[in-house]
């Protein structure tokens, strides 16, 4: 299955990309997607292993199972207000 990974703010700068498509086996979880992404390049390896995430625009835990077409976002600590 294919997952769209969205990188925001400092994570986008760190990895040098705003959006990446990751190919995963059918039973993959969010942690697997992050591991595949981090293995892609030395810059992507700078991303944290266990970031805060959202799946389809909702906060989710790292062990959440993914489905084909999901949007997985890696969220740096937030600083609004």
């Amino acid at each position: 299955m294919r997952i769209r990974v969205v990188l925001l703010a400092s994570y986008r700068d760190l990895a040098g990309a705003a959006e990446v498509v990751v190919e995963l086996p059918p039973d993959a979880r969010a942690t697997d997607a992050i591991a595949v992404l981090r293995a892609r390049s030395t810059r992507a390896a700078l991303l944290p292993e266990r970031p805060v995430i959202a799946v389809n625009q909702e906060y989710a835990s790292l062990d959440i199972p993914l489905r084909d077409g999901d949007e997985l976002a890696l969220l740096p600590p937030v600083a609004g207000g």
Partner: protein, 147 residues
């Protein structure tokens, strides 16, 4: 009524305040967050707010709905600005109205605290000396765990 949005346009504070208020209300509170000219002793030239737009819109609506349920205050309006902001500009505005003042203050306070903790928005500060950086933020508590 309640209304929430994320905008690239300057926030008209008076207009936000006018959206709340009902004949039964005896109190209306307006909170404004503004851009400070210094941060941790460093002169700031300006800053850029960036949002995970689609999620920020739904998350802000969720925050307001939860505060409505928790405080009983129904009239709450909240708006967050994104993009480039100058010193003194309004980055966030929250208005709340209720029959008595305590609940209106509580509701406005609760919304800004939740925004600080979980709205997916980030702040990139530019300093007078030419440097720039992403500000250290809060780990959203609803997310379970952080880096």
């Amino acid at each position: 009524m309640s209304r929430t949005w994320i905008t690239e346009s300057p926030i008209a504070a008076a207009a936000v305040l006018e959206m709340v208020g009902a004949p039964d209300d005896g109190a209306a509170v307006l909170f404004l967050g503004t851009v400070r000219r210094e941060n941790e002793g460093r002169p700031v030239r300006g800053l850029r707010y960036e949002a995970y737009q689609s999620m920020a819109e739904t998350e802000l609506a969720t925050i307001v709905r939860e505060v409505q349920e928790r405080t009983g205050v129904q009239d709450i309006v909240a708006v967050h600005r994104v993009g480039e902001l100058q010193i003194g500009e309004v980055s966030v505005a929250i208005a709340a109205s209720s029959p008595h003042r305590a609940a209106a203050f509580d509701a406005a306070r609760a919304v800004i605290e939740e925004i600080k903790h979980r709205l997916p928005v980030w702040k990139h500060e530019h300093y007078a000396d030419g440097a720039a950086r992403w500000l250290e933020g809060a780990i959203p508590h609803s997310a379970g765990e952080g880096p």
